[in-house]
């Protein structure tokens, strides 16, 4: 990672005290921020840092809600339809509705790809 020098202490889990790797690549976050609109001119050094934590919280929240759908279906594998359902059921995630609809989440069990489970 190119920004290892400045942030390596944080990246190794120093801030939150966690030992596992939990942060997201800051350079990539910055790239995504820059592509988000023409208004975005300059980004402070700490913005990607804030986002890395915000994204972590976001992923955790959406995963939590998705997993609840998985459990309701009495399954042990969280699939993308569960993520789509969680988005539909949560007002906060309205901005994602089109995104999860595009990926064509309404598949029947027969069409589910079972070969890519981790």
């Amino acid at each position: 990672m190119r920004q290892a020098g400045t942030y390596s202490g944080i990246l190794s889990g120093g801030i939150s005290g966690k030992t596992g790797p939990h942060l997201l690549p800051l350079a990539r976050i910055k790239k995504i921020m820059k592509k988000s609109g023409e208004d975005v001119k300059m980004i402070s050094g700490e913005s990607p840092i804030v986002f890395s934590k915000a994204c972590e919280l976001f992923i955790k929240e959406l995963t939590q809600r998705s997993w609840m759908v998985t459990m309701q279906g009495k399954r042990r594998t969280l699939n993308k339809e569960d993520v789509a359902s969680a988005v539909m059921a949560t007002d906060l995630f309205d901005f994602l509705v089109n995104l999860v609809s595009e990926s064509g989440e309404a598949t029947t069990p027969l069409e589910m790809d079972t070969s890519n489970y981790s």
């Binding site: 995504i32 300059m42 804030v50 934590k53 901005f95």
Partner: protein, 147 residues
């Protein structure tokens, strides 16, 4: 078996650009795994969907923050703008953990700056006013007192 089969060279270019707009699937997957039970599984497609959602999240929030900066005629989007945008868009639950995180980060930066400053201070004490004329060695000036 990868679903994204890279064929012709232009596919490779598209694939490369695709990767740039998404956060790495390994990182995303690791965070997801922290939430589900240990024996649970997460499909690759679910991780890919999550990647897309996170990128959309970043764009969504950044847009809001940058619009605020534009209105206030500021060129740089900073951490506080991001926090503000998150609260405005309904992610107010994130505010407390984020501010804590940002505070710790700033403390760390402050400590680093202080550590570097201490090094400079030590040098200054050894060579006071090294750039000033006052206190320079007397051989540089012909000091004569006129009684």
């Amino acid at each position: 078996m990868s679903e994204n089969i890279v064929g012709a060279s232009n596919d490779h270019d598209v694939g490369f650009k695709e990767q740039e707009r998404l956060l790495p699937i390994a990182n995303v997957g690791r965070i997801m795994k922290q939430i589900v039970p240990q024996n649970a599984k997460i499909s690759k497609e679910a991780k890919e969907t999550m990647q897309e959602c996170v990128s959309e999240f970043i764009s969504f929030v950044t847009n809001e923050a940058s619009q605020k900066c534009r209105k206030e005629r500021r060129k740089t989007v900073n951490g506080d703008d991001i926090c503000w945008a998150l609260a405005t868009l309904g992610f107010d639950d994130y505010e407390v953990p984020l501010k804590l995180y940002l505070r710790k980060f700033r403390e760390l930066e402050g400590e680093k700056a202080a550590a570097n400053k201490t090094k400079d201070q030590e040098e200054d004490e050894r060579y006071p006013l090294k750039f000033g004329f006052i206190g320079s060695s007397s051989k540089d000036f012909n000091l004569r007192t006129f009684d």
